[in-house]
């Protein structure tokens, strides 16, 4: 084969090909059997890729087929209605989810990035309490979402914070749920920045914080952004903890952060899917489409921002 068609850089490819030619001239070329195995394996890989792609496509197509009868502007601007589900809309849920996500982002970006910076660059990993923090964050990443709901009800809605059943409480609960995602992704991003960048800055006399802020964080931005996007995606779709901290299923007024009731898209969809009337099922599928739309737009913003600031070392 003339090229290796692999991610190795061109010069290394050339070197490897040259050495390969030498080896082949001494030991003979690869057998037909091997070539068949190669092709078969490539086929298996492509099958895996196809399965993954088809699953996403299937979910999207199913949502469109089930929900398209209700794809009209009413879906976005109308209030929910149990009397006339044919014209009911998701407006308070869309606003509720938006307010929730804004609160989540406001919490996880500073806290998440700060934690990652501390753990990667400032903490002395030999100390037991820093290892404990590390184990902690990894463990939190796997705690079921419903347990965060229990936590939120006990300590955020009631208990020490006593915020009541308001958007801020929901935001905080979901933020704690997705915080580990941001921390872990930010750590990766910071780790991927070559240490020479940081060391060079320090050698030139900058303090650690100055170097981190101006050099490392700017360089790690795309990776941090990925983490935030994944966290936001998870946060939008979580219904279980919100059900426990007070997201209601019927509200017709706009949410406020510190007072009043609120709803969220996944909560309403889950509720509608369980009703007997067929119109509610269609409404649920349409709601899924709205959520997917929201998700896609956030993802596209992220991809655009990432493409603008990506760097190769």
């Amino acid at each position: 084969m003339a090229t290796l068609n692999s991610p190795l850089p061109k010069r290394s490819q050339a070197a490897a090909l040259g050495a390969r030619a030498v080896t082949e001239s001494v030991f003979g070329k690869a057998s037909v059997q091997l070539k068949v195995k190669n092709l078969a394996f490539y086929g298996i890989l492509l099958t895996a890729l196809t399965i993954a792609t088809l699953s996403i496509a299937a979910i999207l197509i199913w949502s469109i087929v089930e929900g398209h009868p209700r794809l009209d502007l009413n879906l976005l601007v109308n209030n929910p209605s149990s009397i006339s589900p044919e014209t009911a809309g998701y407006r308070p849920a869309i606003l509720g989810s938006t307010y929730l996500i804004a609160g989540v982002i406001l919490f996880i970006v500073p806290i998440g990035v700060a934690s990652a910076v501390y753990m990667e660059l400032f903490a002395n990993r030999a100390k037991w309490y820093n290892r404990f923090i590390e184990l902690n964050i990894q463990n939190l990443a796997g705690v079921p979402s419903i347990v965060f709901g229990i936590l939120g009800l006990a300590f955020i809605v009631r208990g020490p914070l006593s915020l009541g059943f308001v958007v801020a409480a929901g935001s905080l609960t979901v933020a704690l749920l997705v915080l580990p995602t941001v921390i872990l992704a930010s750590r990766e991003a910071i780790r991927a920045v070559p240490s020479s960048i940081l060391e060079g800055s320090l050698a030139l006399g900058a303090t650690l914080w100055q170097s981190v802020r101006r050099q490392v964080l700017s360089a790690a931005f795309p990776g941090i952004l990925t983490g935030v996007i994944l966290a936001v995606a998870r946060a939008i779709g979580e219904a279980a903890p919100l059900l426990l901290v007070g997201a209601v299923t019927f509200v017709t007024f706009d949410p406020k952060y510190l007072e009043g009731g609120y709803s969220a898209l996944p909560v309403m969809i889950y509720n509608y899917a369980g009703r007997p009337q067929e119109e509610f099922h269609t409404l649920a599928a349409a709601g899924i489409l709205v959520m997917l739309l929201l998700l896609m737009s956030i993802n596209s913003i992220a991809i655009w921002l990432r493409a603008r600031s990506e760097q190769n070392w």
């Binding site: 501390y118 400032f122 705690v143 347990v147 229990i150 303090t207 996007i229 279980a240």
Partner: protein, 320 residues
């Protein structure tokens, strides 16, 4: 996310003192304290979770109707019946079955995808496939649950009439759906692990005449095995905690112990989810089962995470 997130980097993070600034600016100390506080929030979270779970759990176990022995070894879980049984094994088995089916789906697909992404895919394809996987990762679980219940499950039932399907629920299919949910996680962590294998190993193998198939499976895969194991354990951990999909697809089964994947069986998370939004009076023994099962879940995932860290430390190949 990458394999290194479960490893501790060798050496410590303090930089050689000759690279530090001469005068310690007190702003730096304050900043370090602020950053440490942010990191400590995760500790506060864990402590709060433990407190909110343990209190009612203790009162649950103190009740004379419950014995620790029955809880951990009993095979009938029916806390609301007039003659209640508190053996937790049926729902633990439910959770384990979901995890098994999820891993059966996610391990091959996830690893194959990561091999494709790191060894085979040209840059343009990678630029498309990676965001695609991020979309799959971001799909709301309620959407995947409804899709599985209304389309995937009936389709599978139609395609396999020889299996003893009964009723609209199946824990096997729920497991498959959860597998779809964790594929992106497994694949991206494995992908990062494979990409951190040094080029030199691959180049050497190519130079010696190995084909891409041999390099991927015999050089890169073993080299990245610690990260791949970490990926699998992380995926399993996420599968244990998945609530919405199992609530919609796995149903609530039967109080008796069962291993049948074609039927509905309740998982620990579905139990908590249903209970917490159901009609049981709060404060009763029946209600406190939520906290007992919640504590069990918490410690299960903790044990899995510790296992992941230990496994990675044992098998990690150090290159730098």
């Amino acid at each position: 996310m990458s394999s290194s997130m479960v490893t501790a980097r060798s050496g410590d993070a303090n930089f050689p003192s000759r690279l530090r600034a001469e005068s310690p600016r007190y702003g730096e100390k304050i900043i370090k304290a602020l950053l440490a506080t942010a990191a400590a929030i995760s500790v506060v979270t864990t402590v709060s979770i433990v407190i909110s779970l343990l209190g009612p759990s203790i009162s649950f176990f103190q009740d004379p109707a419950v014995t620790l022995r029955e809880f951990f070894t009993g095979t009938q879980w029916a806390p609301s019946l007039a003659n209640p049984s508190f053996g937790v094994l049926p729902i633990v088995v439910g959770t384990l079955m979901v995890v098994s089916f999820a891993l059966i789906v996610a391990i091959p697909l996830g690893i194959l995808l990561s091999i494709y992404l790191s060894e085979y895919a040209p840059k343009r394809v990678r630029k498309v496939v990676k965001p695609l996987l991020e979309v799959l990762e971001g799909l709301p679980t309620v959407a995947i649950g409804l899709f599985t219940f209304f389309w995937l499950m009936p389709t599978i039932v139609k395609l396999t009439p020889f299996l003893p399907w009964a009723g609209p629920f199946s824990i096997g299919v729920a497991g498959i759906a959860v597998g779809l949910v964790i594929i992106p996680l497994v694949s991206s962590v494995s992908d990062d692990a494979m990409r951190s294998v040094p080029r030199g190993l691959r180049e050497g193998a190519y130079a010696l005449g190995a084909s891409k198939f041999e390099v991927s499976l015999k050089v890169v895969l073993p080299a990245a095995i610690s990260g791949i194991i970490a990926a699998i354990v992380l995926g399993a951990s996420r599968a244990v905690g998945e609530t919405m999909v199992v609530m919609l697809v796995a149903g609530a089964g039967n109080p008796n112990l069962s291993f049948d994947p074609t039927k509905g069986i309740q998982t620990m998370t579905a139990f908590i989810g249903g209970r917490a939004t159901g009609d049981i009076a709060t404060g009763t023994l029946d209600y406190n089962t939520i906290f007992a099962v919640g504590s069990l879940l918490f410690f299960m995932t903790l044990a899995m995470n510790i296992l992941a860290i230990k496994l990675v430390k044992r098998y990690r190949e150090v290159y730098d």
